[in-house]
């Protein structure tokens, strides 16, 4: 493993840590900012791969991530946080218990999925020179962390962030494996942004989600 590989692994680790940071937060604004930092880190990875591979597509991708994910998603979500104090953080969350459960879920699911499906995969970028695909563990971790965040929390904001985290993992996954055409990637970014905007409209009407009698069965 050369020094550039090491830097990519290091930043990818920070991306995974940012996901755990978000999981550990009660305050909505901290989660939103955590997502922004995560997106910027993914953009940095895109710039490094673009520089190594001499590919402009990665630079465009990185720029799109910063503008659409790190900035616009953050802007739309922060704008929608109600001013009342009770809405600033998620109440009745057992953070330590969820964190433990989260770690067990992530370790088991990533281990199973990676060893069954992705361990023998050959990466097309310079990251595949070392002959292993271990770097794919990071997007997988992010993906399952996003899923867990959606499943474990009750507020609309947290679930939106869980979804954005899942989408971030797909960008990272494609960057490591083989980036899909930039026009498709841009369309996906815009789709996700539109979904965040639509979701943020629901936020105004419904802040938390509990079981509803009429929707049982």
């Amino acid at each position: 493993m050369n020094s550039v590989d090491t830097v990519v692994y290091l930043i990818s680790s920070l991306i995974a840590i940012s996901a755990f940071y978000i999981q550990g937060q009660e305050f909505i604004v901290s989660m939103i900012r955590g997502q922004s930092v995560q997106s910027v880190l993914i953009a940095v990875v895109a710039f490094i791969i673009g520089w190594q591979e001499r590919s402009y597509d990665f630079f465009i991708l990185g720029a799109l991530i910063i503008v659409l994910r790190a900035f616009l998603v953050n802007y739309f979500l922060q704008k929608r946080i109600p001013k009342e104090k009770v809405y600033l953080y998620e109440r009745k969350v057992s953070l330590s218990y969820l964190f433990l459960l989260d770690l067990i879920f992530i370790v088991i699911s990533v281990f199973i999925i990676y060893s069954i499906a992705f361990s023998g995969i050959v990466l097309h970028s310079f990251l595949g020179n070392s002959g292993n695909s271990a770097v794919l563990v990071f997007p997988l971790t992010l993906f399952f962390q996003g899923l867990f965040l959606i499943a474990s929390r009750r507020t609309t904001f947290t679930q939106i962030i869980g979804y954005v985290e899942e989408e971030n993992s797909l960008v990272l996954f494609a960057m490591f494996l083989l980036p899909i055409p930039i026009i498709i990637e841009a369309s996906v970014f815009l789709d996700v942004l539109a979904l965040v905007v639509i979701s943020s409209i629901v936020v105004l009407e419904k802040f938390t989600h509990e079981p509803v009698e009429e929707l049982r069965g």
């Binding site: 959606i150 899909i180 498709i184 539109a194 639509i198 989600h209």
Partner: protein, 447 residues
């Protein structure tokens, strides 16, 4: 052909173009646009675009016609239905604008020759349709909207992994090229399997179906008709296009069978009629998935016939439900009685559509189910055949028992105040009958 490309583009753009008249006459423009679009689809059947940006086969045409016909019916039905909505979550022009964009995104998903753009189109259907669910704004509809957004979006991300993997193996996202590639690998099996979870969320495959009954039951009836009649088939079409690359038959067949069993069980204990119809949709979609997974000419023809008949039959069922809700204000099966006298036209459409979607002969759905099951038998899948037959029988009995109970128990004074709404529900419910008879006539002619 250039003309073919132009027609394909026009079909997508026309419903969206009605949005230009947002402030003045979007309602009328949508109806005119829908009618023109149907006519263009008729022309495009003969003048197809070359394979390039678009990939339109005969099967695609069936889906396009289905989407446009149900869109047109729902738009006309909405003109009356919306008048009775007490608290509107969105304005009337916004409703039509979103309905049009919803149709545009479905047509785009059907026509494009690119898996990535198909995914974008499917995600766009969620974006455009989510706010339609809160047209009749209540706490429950808001919760259903949120569940729809979060479950479908989270599920569809699995499908994007599948698309990344397809691109990794084939180096292209072109649907036509991928189908012709005949590449077999372990990763491709993984990609097609993940698509079942991803796009399967939108199709209503068990256990990722949970958004379906909530969204169908809380959406306004014309939107429920579009969800059930054309949105789910559109997602199924995209799933079929992925499945064609590497048919993972056993996995798809068993998931379809399991979903049919689950749907027939859930359907049995529903107390609200719209939720009951929602589970019937889940059953029919998975039956079509079974036909596609079987993959023979019988299975594919059966699936297309089933989906086409079901789209009108289920639209009829949801329009009838809309009539019942509008004329009585009641949502529970047990609260409705004497429909035969209180709503004669609606009860006729409700009965016909109920028989149609449960596969009674001679409705088109019956022949579709027959062909699918024949294909399953030809593959010697006896266990699957028996399980499906039992589930279909259970669903048929429980649904028609509830519907006949609503219609034939007791006498009530006539409350059918509107003419157009019952007329549209009867028209939709009768179409599967015509499709069935038409198929039978053609079949006998061929023999």
């Amino acid at each position: 052909m250039i003309l073919g490309q132009l027609l394909a583009v026009l079909i997508i753009l026309i419903p969206g173009a009605a949005g230009i008249l947002y402030r003045t006459g979007i309602k009328q423009a949508s109806i005119i646009g829908g009618s023109v679009d149907l006519a263009i689809a008729g022309i495009m059947y003969f003048i197809r675009p070359q394979v390039g940006f678009f990939f339109i086969q005969n099967s695609t045409m069936v889906f396009i016609v289905m989407v446009l016909a149900v869109y047109l019916l729902s738009t006309v039905y909405s003109t009356r239905y919306l008048k009775g909505v007490e608290v509107m979550g969105i304005s009337e022009p916004t409703y039509y604008l979103l309905l049009n964009l919803f149709t545009v995104s479905m047509l785009f998903s059907l026509e494009v020759n690119n898996y990535g753009l198909m995914w974008v189109g499917i995600e766009a259907t969620t974006i455009s349709s989510a706010l339609l669910l809160i047209t009749e704004k209540t706490e429950t509809s808001l919760e259903a909207t949120w569940r729809y957004i979060v479950i479908v979006s989270a599920g569809v991300t699995f499908a994007f992994i599948s698309i990344i993997l397809i691109y990794y193996i084939l180096g292209t996202l072109s649907v036509s090229a991928a189908i012709a590639s005949h590449v077999h690998s372990r990763i491709m099996v993984l990609a097609v399997s993940l698509a079942l979870i991803g796009f399967g969320t939108k199709v209503g495959v068990f256990p990722v179906h949970t958004w379906l009954p909530d969204a169908h039951s809380e959406a306004p009836s014309p939107v429920s008709a579009m969800f059930s009649g054309v949105l789910l088939p559109t997602a199924l079409y995209v799933l079929y296009r992925v499945y064609e690359i590497e048919p993972v038959r056993d996995l798809y067949v068993w998931f379809a069978v399991l979903s049919i069993v689950a749907a027939s069980i859930f359907l049995g204990y529903q107390v609200r009629y719209k939720r009951m119809f929602a589970y019937s949709t889940m059953e029919n979609m998975n039956l079509a998935l079974l036909g596609i997974a079987a993959g023979g000419p019988l299975g594919i023809t059966g699936a297309l016939l089933l989906l086409l008949s079901h789209s009108f039959g289920k639209a009829g069922a949801f329009y009838s439900s809309g009539n019942v809700l509008r004329f009585t204000g009641k949502k529970k099966i047990a609260e409705i009685s004497g429909m035969g006298t209180s709503m004669p036209y609606t009860s006729a459409s409700l009965l016909m559509s109920s028989l149609a979607v449960t596969g009674a002969p001679p409705f088109g759905t019956f022949f579709g189910e027959f062909l699918i099951l024949a294909d399953i038998l030809s593959l010697h899948m006896y266990a699957q055949f028996i399980i499906v037959i039992i589930s279909l029988a259970a669903a048929f009995i429980s649904m028609n028992y509830n519907v006949t109970g609503m219609i034939f128990s007791g006498n009530q004074p006539n409350v059918e105040r509107d003419r157009l709404m019952p007329a549209l529900s009867v028209l939709s419910a009768i179409l599967p009958l015509f499709i069935g008879i038409f198929y039978l006539v053609v079949y006998i002619e061929i023999l």
